[in-house]
């Protein structure tokens, strides 16, 4: 019987309702289907997951007698339900844009003119080009990228391993999405991807900061609703009244790139009003560590990095931070010995300028709201900041913005308990260890100087840090996801040889010299033990691939044979999966039955200690001390903002941010014909009535959003639910598809310095009639 229950009806009456349909014999149209047998029960079923950068919901595919997928469900009660994109995956599989054979370029670069070639011909050519490149300029002249198009354990990791067998190739450093979290979190509390998703429903105050979980975590939105039903408040800080903000208890609009000023204002308020959790700060953080007059950390033993000093209030002397029974001073009233002040003094000094009035002036958040948010956050009893992949991170100083969230959680003791913490991405690897599909090479590879991800186009054009002879791109969209698309097109055209492995003829593939056809979900075997779901899942092959498509790991195995290390890569899919699972103790047989959560009960990261060398959280991060950056959170104004660059703002007075839409996941699903039919054929620009009127723009008509980097044609949506001076663009549209350009033609490719991320949400534009 049904597993579905209804909140308003309850199981019993719902089933009664279905029971009434025993009379459906009177339905003439379904007379042939009157057995109490579920439709599609003659199909064979297989399980898989959506492996791109999403929530990795579990999918169940129904295969009919002709070997075709005819239905996809998401029926696992634990892993969460998939959205329309996941359920419509078969339209990706059966898309007319599938690459069906290996293709070799015949026309000019970017012309999209190719001829089909055999796998042998294509692989021989790629291997020959790799050998040529290595002979000429070393393995560093090969660039390998594998990103969020497929995040299973046999896609990116196998490519990376192949690079190691070549002695180490050039890669990128940082991420387009969330490097700021790495640079903040890893220095403050411990490794990435330790997050409190399992206890969302226990939170009393959910502060969604620059993040829109209704769209980007829709699978988990029921947990937010459950928290709400239990009395939790949901608060949103965002330039626009997002889907989440519309459903929240309060929305606070903010200017893009100014979030850290608000957080510092909150910290100032919390301190002035004695709302800190001083016990937590003393016991579990390095807030009391002493610093000298130059702001450098004091160490009692120069040979021991962890020998931090504190001022003990009991003995009124400087002692090791971890001395038994110590009561460390959080603030120094006057210099003592070589100590000038505490780390916490430094933190508060950066917060001090951010009075409510100063916050309002810089961020647009009303002065009286600063104290309200701060007080509610500090006193709810269980507050969680939800900032997973939020747009606020993709700003020039995103690392400080993310760090300010961890700082708030530490100062108020809102971390390491049910319903608290900072909700970032995270998955099974925080609870269990997983292995590599392919063994490491005997000879240790030599690490090559990586390219900062947002500067990739610029580096390619300038041959930095070295000349790249061949770029192998899989599971990624340099055209569409990377910032400054027009520069990227120029850079790719300059490349001697560009290999793209993809399932679809994407705008990136159109620029390739060789396109290798890759399988998509339900066409190949793999495993997902990744950082987007707490469940380890088997990805099952359900049908034969379209055309001659092959899994990425098969391609690498064939190339490995040609490069002289074939044996290491020549393993069956099942063996590759077993190798990944082995260190976890979870078996192939386990995940064949059902997705597995590696931890019994609710996972709460940082419950007893932080994963730092001392076990205490750091408010002072020495890794940030470069290029004059402070080791504690401070607010710096991003350059590409109206106040950061008034001269540029005369030409381009509007701040453009990107929103995630239910239409795409980044650039994926663009060639999905069902989604094409049910969604509008043009991206939108959201703009306020005043900003639209000033430009003569009318709702529903086309407009051009532009800056020096390019032009993006969109449909105007006039809304009052937006910060004036800000426009919102859609992420993910394909270059050229339906005559559209992606919003990425406009985006800022400045490097986010501390995290090596991007600054795409600090972009200046203007809008004109089309």
């Amino acid at each position: 019987m049904t597993k579905i229950t209804s909140p308003s009806l309850g199981r019993r009456s719902f089933l009664t309702a279905f029971g009434l349909c025993g009379v459906a014999g009177s339905h003439p149209a379904i007379a042939s289907q009157l057995q109490a047998k579920a439709p599609f029960s003659d199909c064979k079923t297989f399980h898989a997951t959506c492996p791109m950068e999403c929530l990795h919901c579990n999918l169940k595919g129904y295969v009919n007698a002709e070997g075709k997928i005819v239905k996809i469900e998401s029926d696992n009660p634990h892993t969460g339900k998939a959205c329309g994109r996941g359920l419509s995956r078969m339209q990706w599989m059966y898309s007319k844009d599938r690459v069906l054979t290996p293709l070799l370029r015949t026309g000019p670069k970017g012309s999209g003119q190719f001829k089909p070639v055999s796998w042998d011909e294509a692989l021989d050519l790629v291997a020959e080009k790799m050998k040529e490149a290595i002979a000429k300029d070393g393995p560093e002249s090969l660039l390998f990228t594998s990103r969020s198009g497929n995040m299973d354990n046999l896609c990116g990791p196998v490519q990376a391993r192949f690079g190691q067998y070549l002695g180490g190739v050039t890669g990128t450093i940082g991420a387009l999405c969330c490097s700021a979290v790495s640079a903040a979190m890893e220095n403050m509390v411990g490794p990435r991807c330790n997050e409190p998703r399992d206890t969302i429903e226990d939170a009393k105050y959910l502060l969604c900061w620059g993040n829109n979980p209704v769209v980007t975590m829709s699978t988990y939105w029921p947990l937010f609703l459950k928290a709400k039903e239990r009395g939790a408040k949901i608060i949103v800080i965002d330039p626009r009244k997002s889907e989440t903000a519309r459903r929240a208890d309060a929305w606070y609009p903010i200017y893009p790139g100014t979030d850290t000023a608000l957080a510092l204002g909150m910290i100032r308020y919390i301190h002035k009003n004695l709302l800190e959790d001083t016990d937590f700060l003393k016991k579990r953080t390095g807030a009391a560590y002493l610093v000298d007059k130059d702001g450098k950390l004091l160490r009692l033993n120069p040979a021991d990095k962890n020998s931090y000093a504190v001022f003990d209030l009991k003995t009124e002397s400087i002692v090791p931070h971890d001395k038994d029974g110590v009561d460390p001073a959080l603030n120094l009233l006057k210099p003592v010995g070589g100590a000038a002040r505490t780390v916490y003094d430094m933190v508060l000094a950066e917060a001090e300028p951010w009075t409510p009035q100063a916050v309002e002036k810089e961020t647009g958040v009303k002065a009286d709201a600063v104290g309200k948010i701060a007080r509610d956050y500090a006193t709810s009893g269980a507050s969680m900041i939800v900032d997973n992949m939020g747009g606020f991170q993709r700003t020039e100083y995103g690392t400080y913005a993310v760090a300010s969230h961890f700082l708030l959680s530490l100062i108020t003791g809102n971390i390491g308990r049910e319903g608290t913490g900072v909700l970032d991405q995270g998955g099974a690897p925080q609870m269990a260890k997983f292995g590599s599909a392919i063994a490491a090479p005997d000879k240790k590879p030599v690490a090559k100087k990586p390219i900062p991800v947002s500067l990739l186009a610029q580096y390619l054009l300038e041959d930095k840090p070295c000349k790249i002879n061949l770029w192998y791109a899989q599971a990624c969209a340099p055209i569409g996801s990377w910032p400054n698309t027009n520069l990227m097109v120029k850079a790719i055209k300059k490349l001697p040889f560009f290999v793209v492995a993809d399932s679809l003829m994407t705008p990136t593939a159109k620029l390739a010299d060789v396109v290798l056809p890759v399988t998509t979900v339900f066409e190949y075997d793999s495993v997902m033990a990744g950082n987007r779901t707490h469940f380890v899942q088997l990805i099952e092959k359900a049908v034969e691939p379209q055309g001659e498509a092959k899994p990425d790991y098969w391609i690498w195995a064939q190339l490995a044979k040609r490069m002289g290390f074939g044996e290491a890569f020549d393993l069956s899919p099942e063996q590759l999966i077993r190798n990944v699972l082995k260190p976890s103790g979870i078996t192939y047989e386990d995940i064949k039955k059902a997705p597995v959560h590696p931890y019994k009960g609710k996972w709460i990261p940082f419950k007893d200690k932080f994963m730092t060398p001392t076990g205490k959280a750091n408010l002072y991060c020495e890794a940030w001390i470069k290029d004059d950056f402070l080791p504690v959170v401070t607010y710096l104004r991003a350059h590409e903002t109206p106040k950061g660059n008034p001269e540029l703002a005369k030409k381009y007075p509007l701040q453009a941010v990107q929103r995630k839409v239910t239409r795409n996941i980044h650039t994926s699903h663009q060639a999905n014909v069902w989604l094409e039919e049910i969604y509008p054929d043009k991206p939108t620009v959201l703009i306020t009535p005043k900003d639209a009127a000033a430009r003569g723009l009318k709702d529903g008509e086309l407009a051009v959003v532009f800056n020096d980097r390019g032009e993006h044609v969109t449909r105007v949506v006039i809304t009052k639910d937006l910060m004036p001076g800000v426009v919102v663009l859609e992420n993910g549209w394909w270059l050229g598809r339906g005559g559209n350009t992606p919003s990425s033609v406009l985006t800022n490719d400045t490097r986010e310095v501390l995290g090596n991320g991007t600054s795409i949400c600090t972009t200046l534009v203007n809008v004109k009639k089309a």
Binding site: S8, L15, H27, A29, A36, K37, S74
Partner: protein, 178 residues
Amino acid sequence: MKKLGFLFDSERCTGCRACVIACKMEKAAPDKVWLRKVLENTANMEFLSAGCNHCEDPACVKVCPVKAYKKEFDGLVIQDHAKCIGCQSCIQACPYHAPSYSPQENKVYKCDGCAPRLQAGLAPACVASCQTQALQFGPIADFLKAHPDAYVKGHAWAEKEFGYPKPTTKPSLVIIPF
């Protein structure tokens, strides 16, 4: 006999379109045929999942020249697909234009409330796929009892936000407005 219908809770809907796609697959609807859609107001991020409302006073039943439609006593309005001649007068007559025409087959398709699934004790595909239980299915009287004001207010909201037609055909759809 309790008549069946839908409940839509606007605040719970995330606009994810799972219902639209699940319906498409469940009914193996041919190209261009869509029996459910999600209406969106992009200016304020409100949504309405809309399909056949299995009306108390169904327009399709009245106009069909070949009497392909029948209002069953459990409330469902069922089309005998074999009878359909593709004239599309039902699509015109339905205030919601809920039936959907297949040019390939020259026939009209319409939601049957997933009667075959109901038979097997399963919720309709759209309801089963909903991430947040924003869309529910059951005795319409129970929905009305649980949400006494919702019917009038909800349809007024839908009209204001999406131009959704006034409930002149007594649609079996309770909408909890925003």
